[in-house]
Subunit: 348 residues, 2 copies
Amino acid sequence: MQRRPARRKGAASTIGDVARHAGVSAMTVSRVINDGPNVRDATRQRVIEAIRVLDYAPNQAARSLASAQSLKIGLLYNNPSAAYLSEVLLGGLDQSSKAGAQLVVEKCEPDAEAEALDRLLSSGVDGVLLPAPLCDSAAILQWLDEAGLPGVAIASSQPDDSLSAIGIDDAAAARAMTLHLLELGHRRIGFVQGPSDHASAALRRQGWLQALSERGIATDDSLIVQGSYTYHSGLDAADQLLSLPLPPTAIFASNDDMAAAAIAVAHRRGLDVPRDLTVVGFDDTALATTVWPPLTTIRQPVSDMSRQAVSILIDLIRRRSDEPSPGARELLDFTLIQRQSDGPPPVI
Amino acid sequence: MQRRPARRKGAASTIGDVARHAGVSAMTVSRVINDGPNVRDATRQRVIEAIRVLDYAPNQAARSLASAQSLKIGLLYNNPSAAYLSEVLLGGLDQSSKAGAQLVVEKCEPDAEAEALDRLLSSGVDGVLLPAPLCDSAAILQWLDEAGLPGVAIASSQPDDSLSAIGIDDAAAARAMTLHLLELGHRRIGFVQGPSDHASAALRRQGWLQALSERGIATDDSLIVQGSYTYHSGLDAADQLLSLPLPPTAIFASNDDMAAAAIAVAHRRGLDVPRDLTVVGFDDTALATTVWPPLTTIRQPVSDMSRQAVSILIDLIRRRSDEPSPGARELLDFTLIQRQSDGPPPVI
DNA sequence: CTGAAAGCGCTTACAG
DNA sequence: CTGAAAGCGCTTACAG
């Protein structure tokens, strides 16, 4: 029976060790760690060096005990999609643990925002992460304001002014995708629009329109069909598009669920994708690669967004009471991921 | 400009408050909190009452600082599916935060188990959560053993003996689903099997066989088709089944991805689901409800499993060095979720 | 079965 | 710009 080694992370170095090594007091080390003012540059350098040499990492428990400030961050979610949620969670968790903050996750049921928010508040959070589409909810924003808590929107390109936000430029991404389709030779591109209560839906449509007009392609209103971001709505939308007297040679769906549905419809009609019809999506969810052929789509760096959102939120919390920062906006790069659902239009 | 209220969770009660209220020392309160021995029952009751009255909750930071035991729990994942992962994450996060443990999440790339594990070890985790199928990896189990770390398998019904595990009874669930199909009137039920390196695959097949034999239905080998849990493999499997001279009236796929593919194939062949063909899955992933018609499937309580796995792991860590507990097994209830992809067989 | 003392590693006032 | 002291809320030996 193998006896378990005692592997307690042997005597991690403390603030005292660093102080001794640098020839200063613990107080000064603390100042350096916390980016405090009033440290001569030479002193600061010596401390930083000592930290490096001793491989020192502050003990978070001691930190929060002493400062009586545990840094609890709330994350409200609404399950738009599991893939999206898990990325938000992964990024948020990673950054929170690095920053020594605790992440408290609450589900927000459709018409019970108040309850979720109250649970969050009573658990003592110092700020809230709001992944889209929750950041577009007026009720939530108002509540946040009343509670006096800072919030950061994730994956929202057009959030309320009261919020700091991080996201991609949805319009630019949709424009890039449309340009890609145009380059392949497509001229009749069907567009499946998202629901009007999602800020992203309008922006994606706008990007599509812009690319078209840039290349001098006249827009044909019959090529725009309304969807609601659900797979089921994509079924109807694609059917409508492919029933047109002059059907499109490519379908650009505003999200992957609807694009996956478009592929299903094409197959049912005996059309090969991408030989007979090109279908592209948006979001790069798990569905994009479970479906056959895998979808060409736009990927948002969701976990990076979440990571950065945590940093921004912590800054906001630490700075508190100061000027109520006027909602910073941060844009991250998207990626066009080309897989196997796109190709040139069929030669007639 | 609304000034932020100072809402620091006003003077939460401490162990001292409780001690005073109960007329004992802080030490005794600590014993009660930690289920320590040597407390007279009457004393314990008084303390519990005081805790209730004062709404006392131990300060985790102080706790881990004092005990120099921060309780870090590692979670290794391998992205089988985002839905599964997010449930594991949600449950694990919830329970860890309740127990004052920190959750450290690491991704384990296909052939780089060693790296992921080393990162986990160097981050100082005290134990590891292993969601299926990672708990079936010999490399990981060996590493865990060498590191002397306790581990708990999640959603595994047939894990290694060295591990504690929590899961559902896959065979019983598959049997229940098959019985359900039989009750609807089906007699020719096609079965799409999972990959042989997944413990669950064999168990699910076994459950299917058992139900059949219980009802005295002869098994027809042509009705068993090999799949690999991917959507793409489901396409081929369903094609094979539906090309049979005497095709099945129902297809039971071992997971939702393959079931979704079966629906796609049926549609492509002009078959209506469920009127002409019943299709059921297993797992209740997001795909089950994005596809049309939504899938009848088996749901595992993944987030509950994850929650309990955390509790078990913490017990294991606290108990350490003691008898190396011989791998407890915990079975949770599954649910058969009936949606719209099943019905009686077509009348001929 | 119960308690008084010391200390975990940091930060917060307060001095200089 | 820097430091000595006290204390955050708990637990760990150690006594009784």
